[in-house]
Symmetry: C2
Subunit: 269 residues, 2 copies
């Protein structure tokens, strides 16, 4: 099954647009877990168990794991291996390099780590994208418009008729011959989200920024989903996984995930 169909089917089966972000940092997790032999994995395991019924996807930001060196990579691999098979597993790595090197990243993330999808920075253009797109079952979410203040610096650069992020959206659309391309579009920009959705009606969106970053959830769902209220994954990391630092953190995360899943579904028109 190609990646786009996998996204649509998973969203339907799980009745959820929610992506849970496992941005796990040792100094943020409940202190009682620090006595475990692998505190990061133990935290992730309990969060996955608690939230998986409400999530269509899990997104793992590699930075948080690389920061701990080899120990971090071990926790990362164990976490990917532990994720259930009925969710989309996203390695949020924002990689991007020339063809020769991109091939190595594709091997690292798809084959070694077992990701279903990855995030890629498109700045280096089509030949940096192609090595990630050979397998129709593996997806790539290209950075298009991000949710941070610095997105204004270059992504909004305009030739008078088109902004860079629009050019990226149109280009990625043209790279989608295997039905496995998607876009990262920040939820902090609902009007732009609407514009990008109109340019690329078929592409799945990965939408960060609905949790701690304070995007407008209602508008994000109305403008980010397709005509069937699908084809978009809304990521929340900190607001769910760090909802409590007490021993009941997993139960609290579960309640928060369920509520976010419901809020997303209720925001559909």
């Amino acid at each position: 099954m190609n990646f786009i169909n996998k996204v649509l089917e998973t969203i339907e089966k799980k009745n959820s647009l929610l992506c849970v972000g496992l941005d796990t940092a040792k100094d943020k997790i409940p202190p009682h877990l620090l006595q475990e032999s692998d505190p990061i994995f133990e935290f992730n395991k309990q969060i996955i168990d608690a939230t998986q019924n409400y999530a269509a996807a899990f997104k793992i930001n590699l930075a948080f794991y690389e920061a701990y060196g080899i120990e971090g990579w071990q926790a990362l691999k164990k976490t990917f291996d532990y994720l259930p098979s009925d969710v989309i597993k996203i390695a949020d790595a924002k990689r991007g390099d020339i063809g020769n090197t991109a091939k190595m990243y594709a091997q690292a993330l798809f084959d070694d780590l077992g990701a279903d999808a990855i995030t890629v920075n498109p700045l280096m253009g089509h030949d940096s994208a192609q090595p990630f797109l050979g397998d129709p079952s593996k997806g790539v979410f290209f950075l298009c418009l991000t949710s941070n203040p610095g997105s204004q610096d270059f992504q909004h650069f305009s030739n008078g008729e088109q902004k860079l992020y629009e050019k990226i959206a149109v280009s990625v659309n043209s790279w989608n011959s295997n039905n496995n391309c998607g876009l990262v579009v920040g939820a902090t920009h609902p009007e732009e989200l609407e514009k990008i959705r109109s340019l690329t009606p078929q592409l799945p969106f990965l939408i960060p920024g609905i949790g701690a970053q304070g995007g407008d959830l209602q508008k994000s769902v109305q403008f980010g989903t397709d005509l069937n209220g699908s084809n978009a994954l809304y990521n929340s990391s900190r607001a769910i996984i760090y909802a409590s630092l007490e021993k009941d953190f997993a139960q609290t995360a579960k309640a928060k995930a369920k509520q976010t899943r419901d809020d997303l579904n209720n925001a559909k028109i």
Copy 2:
């Protein structure tokens, strides 16, 4: 010492503009090394020993190591630890993410790995750059104009007066308050190199593409260095490290590194 002064001093002391790229892949190294317990590190060790007298810097592309999972990270860490203290150690990771996450990458690459400098993709803007720039002794080479065909897709996007890569150069120049910013500029574009050098006379350049990628070395040196023929590092990976696949590979790499060092010095006006 701030990073830019460190680059200038290292180039002078080593009398070299050469950066040796350790893009080490298992299927490219001499077959007799595959019987070693850690073939990648063994290869790197011998290449470092053979070429370090001729190199001002070593650049290690993380993709090649991540592709082998935890085993690759171990080889990566051992390679960084093995590099001599009188060269600039560059982690070519092309990372870039929001502030919170960029901090984790900075920790991973500067603290855990021990890099002197890293490459960063600037697409996400100033707040994705800042977390890498806090320590004046640690440098960041931002992707500005790359050496691959796809660099035409977005880096050349123009508002009529300025191209995106020029906007990136000017922006990075304004981020350089700690004297630790640099630019990645492909050697396949000598005219653009001249333009970017004129926009940013103080920034060190990391220039890939003089080896296997076929850039024009003479023009690259004339246009890429500063007024003193310094402040630019020219990377060659495959043309040096894979110059021979025989048992004498290290000696052949040494001769090739010496010749490239000399060619670079002779290309100065």
